[in-house]
């Protein structure tokens, strides 16, 4: 088996098939990045998976998962003003959490340099929106590099780090989902480790670092001057690519993954426009773009999500009175979704039909396949809890979800939630819904990682302002949705064992009077406790606690003594009530055409939580399977 950790630390130049998220780790090592921080969120957590492969003592930089993106940004900032090249990475909407700190970075003299890696998600593959974070870069005068593939991820991180260290400014490396996860053979340079300089270089004379009243203006002027200088540097940046097909009529300006989609559609259509592919997409290389506009009759701006580049290019053409027809976004659909080759072909067909690959018609014959919505894993504690909580609540009660695996309970057959916003929002929203409301009780949900991330302020507010809501805290000891990262109550951080900060102790410390706690899988007890909690006037919390079953079973499987188990159904006792398959709805249960129910051996993990749901006790205790390795 290849040792990918050793490869990342290789002294020699090498090539390897890696995803973008892995390529960036080698770039961090080569750039001599010293402090890296994050909060897990798709599409970026695999950056941490690659780091985790390297033993802590072998890592040439410090890494931590911080409690949230804002804290992670602050830790990276602190390291940078102390002279260390730092990096923070998180998902698209993570920047909203980090924004209060992030927007100040460009005002500061970051003597060590700092790269902010954003995992944007065009197509909303795993996010609650597809926000275009270039807006926040513009708001905060921060340059952005955007690569198209893993090889560019590596090169552009190095370029971002160099620029950041040269001008002491923050620089964004903007990745999108299918750039993070794309795999290709990437060529890496040699690397010579050097000792970490542990001299704290912080000096107020490098500042000011106190953005207050009149001090803000020189800091802002410095940021704007830097931005102007970067734009001029961008005109000469060798990473920008001009594909000159000697086509003086048709030119295209683009960047990132849509550039590759464009090449695919052109490979099929045989179209040969000139293409200007940018590496640094903010601030724009004005002269380079002006020259490109001047030398073409028509230019298409191929830009995923919002029209930031288009607006700036149109302004440039207007200011310099360049005679060129600019084709930008037309309808709403050009603002929506990922720019795949199919999407790009459709957009191009509207301007230059001969350039676009032809879409294939549907196959000659079609079969209707039932949809397969995402759901909770077999044996998941959330499913067990939903089943119990539902028995305690009225149809009319308002149930507010938060972010995490439990969010998936909004789908049939559970239909648990009516509202969802973002990390930690459930108690605040719930509090608002309890006001001027005497008839519909309000129940909020929260996971434990989210509790630490952004949930605590809402809880304090509920206490402080005496809101009448019940919070159900699903404590599974991990950040499950993003791949089981440890959090403050896990007893481990990324690097070592730590003292747990138990969720319950925090609540008690805050002065929450009404705390109930039960094993997530004890359905009857959970039902009773929720009934009791919602009857209380004021703020109450029910903690449903059990280790994430998926994580637990994976750990169990690694043990020599592990015995795989599964439940079975006594067909003579089963009266086809279908509670297990239709209401409890563990994916393990199979419905036959005659209405009989069976267990799918590929899926059952043998947790036995379903036993409590069968009205005729037809589900038999989990027993060892035979003949497995």
């Amino acid at each position: 088996m290849k040792n990918f950790a050793d490869m990342l630390l290789s002294r020699e130049a090498f090539s390897e098939i890696v995803m973008g998220n892995t390529a960036v780790v080698r770039a961090m090592i080569e750039a001599k990045t010293r402090v890296v921080t994050s909060y897990p969120g798709s599409p970026t957590p695999e950056i941490a998976s690659a780091i985790a492969g390297i033993k802590p003592e072998d890592r040439p930089f410090y890494f931590e998962f911080s409690t949230n993106e804002k804290v992670a940004t602050e830790v990276a900032y602190g390291a940078s003003v102390n002279g260390h090249l730092s990096t923070v990475f998180f998902k698209s909407v993570g920047l909203n959490v980090a924004a209060d700190t992030f927007v100040q970075l460009s005002l500061m003299n970051l003597i060590g340099g700092m790269v902010v890696i954003l995992g944007d998600d065009p197509g909303a593959n795993s996010s609650q929106n597809e926000q275009d974070n270039r807006h926040l870069a513009r708001l905060s005068y921060t340059p952005i590099f955007e690569p198209a593939d893993p090889q560019e991820v590596y090169h552009y991180y190095l370029a971002a780090a160099r620029l950041s260290q040269q001008l002491h400014i923050p620089v964004i490396l903007r990745l999108t989902t299918h750039v993070c996860h794309a795999k290709q053979k990437v060529s890496f340079a040699a690397w010579q480790p050097t000792d970490i300089d542990r001299t704290p270089a912080f000096d107020v004379n490098n500042g000011p670092y106190m953005p207050l009243t009149s001090l803000v203006f020189p800091m802002k002027r410095r940021a704007l001057n830097n931005l102007r200088q970067v734009a001029e540097m961008n005109d000469k940046d060798q990473l920008n690519r001009l594909i000159d097909n000697k086509n003086r009529r048709q030119g295209i300006i683009t960047f990132g993954l849509p550039f590759l989609s464009l090449l695919d559609t052109l490979a099929e259509s045989g179209g040969k426009p000139d293409i200007l592919k940018l590496a640094m997409i903010y601030p724009l290389p004005n002269q380079l773009i002006a020259d490109f506009l001047t030398s073409h009759e028509e230019v298409v701006i191929l830009e995923e999500l919002d029209d930031l580049m288009e607006s700036e290019i149109k302004r440039l053409a207007f200011e310099r009175q360049i005679k060129v027809k600019i084709h930008g976004k037309t309808d709403i659909e050009s603002w929506v979704g990922e720019y795949t080759a199919d999407k790009v072909a459709g957009l191009l067909a509207a301007v230059w039909p001969e350039m676009a690959a032809k879409p294939q018609p549907a196959p000659a014959f079609s079969v209707t396949v039932p949809p397969r919505p995402a759901q909770m894993c077999p044996g998941c504690g959330h499913r067990s809890a939903f089943h119990a909580v539902k028995q305690a609540l009225a149809e009319t009660d308002i149930k507010v979800a938060d972010i995490g695996c439990h969010t998936l309970g909004f789908m049939p057959p559970y239909n648990m939630w009516q509202l969802l916003m973002c990390m930690g929002a459930s108690t605040g929203i719930g509090a608002g819904m309890s006001l001027c409301n005497d008839s519909r009780r309000v129940v909020c949900f929260l996971g434990d990682s989210t509790f630490f991330h952004a949930g605590i302020p809402g809880i304090i507010n509920a206490l402080f302002n005496k809101h009448n809501i019940t919070l159900i805290l699903m404590e599974n000891g991990t950040t499950a949705m993003t791949g089981h990262q440890d959090h403050a109550a896990s007893g481990r951080n990324f690097n070592q064992e730590t003292e747990k900060i138990p969720v319950r102790s925090v609540l008690e410390g805050l002065g929450v009077k009404n705390i109930f706690e039960v094993d997530t899988y004890q359905q009857q007890k959970l039902t009773d406790m929720v009934k009791e909690a919602v009857a209380i006037e004021g703020f109450s919390v029910v903690i449903a606690k059990h280790a994430c079953m998926l994580k637990l079973m994976r750990e169990q499987r690694r043990k020599e003594s592990f015995q795989a188990k599964m439940v079975s159904i006594d067909q003579t006792t089963c009266n086809k009530a279908h509670v297990c398959v239709s209401a409890f709805a563990c994916p393990t249960f199979v419905m036959h055409e005659d209405g009989s129910v069976d267990v799918n051996p590929d899926l059952c993990i043998g947790d036995g939580s379903c036993l409590q749901t069968c009205p005729t006790k037809a589900i038999q205790r989990p027993e060892s399977r035979k003949g497995e390795i």
Partner: protein, 192 residues
């Protein structure tokens, strides 16, 4: 060389990531340029998972376009039909492992399970070449992906990739007992 596009699908938990990376690395071992991408995150929770592989000199985006896959590989019967309908090009091939992880509407009795016969009819009418794979004697259901890989190798569904390339790729990604068990199964099924 004309690009060769492969689209893989299955249900979260079936081990699509492993089979996909084996094929990608096998192509590399065979001296071919190959790129790919997997779905990660939300979709893994019992939903549809997919993976894209593109082989050839003139391939750029890692994503396979709709109806432009030369080969669709699926680890599950429903997902086989769904993926082939959406991604398989004319004259393409579908290879799938014949197991059923019933989608929710089937379990709720609101939709019919896709049958083996329906898959066969669909492929016949669309003129797709079909390979159905099933082994009642697998040592572990988690090895269905390797059984499928053996069928891909035996039927030479990815041109230029020999058994040795797949074996080397497996060696890149697995070790110890897991590698031994998977290689043993792979070799047994390739040679039969």
């Amino acid at each position: 060389m004309k690009p060769f596009n492969i689209y893989l699908s299955g249900v979260g938990g079936q081990g699509i990531g492993l089979i996909s990376e084996i094929i990608l690395r096998a192509a590399d071992r065979a001296g071919l340029k190959a790129i790919g991408v997997d779905t990660h995150g939300l979709a893994q929770r019992g939903g549809i998972v997919s993976s894209h592989i593109r082989i050839g000199e003139d391939v750029h985006s890692p994503l396979v376009s709709k109806r432009k896959a030369d080969l669709v590989i699926s680890l599950e019967r429903h997902e086989a039909v769904r993926a082939a309908s959406e991604y398989l090009a004319d004259k393409g091939s579908l290879v799938y492992y014949n197991t059923s992880w019933q989608p929710l509407p089937v379990r709720l009795n609101k939709a019919q399970e896709i049958s083996v016969q329906q898959v066969a009819d669909f492929c016949q009418k669309c003129e797709y070449q079909l390979f159905e794979v099933h082994h009642a004697d697998l040592p572990d259901p988690r090895m269905q992906n390797i059984a499928l890989l053996a069928a891909i190798c035996r039927n030479n569904l990815v041109a230029g990739l020999a058994a040795s390339h797949y074996e080397q790729a497996m060696g890149d990604l697995m070790s110890g007992k897991m590698l031994d068990a998977n290689l043993k199964l792979f070799n047994r099924l390739v040679s039969h």
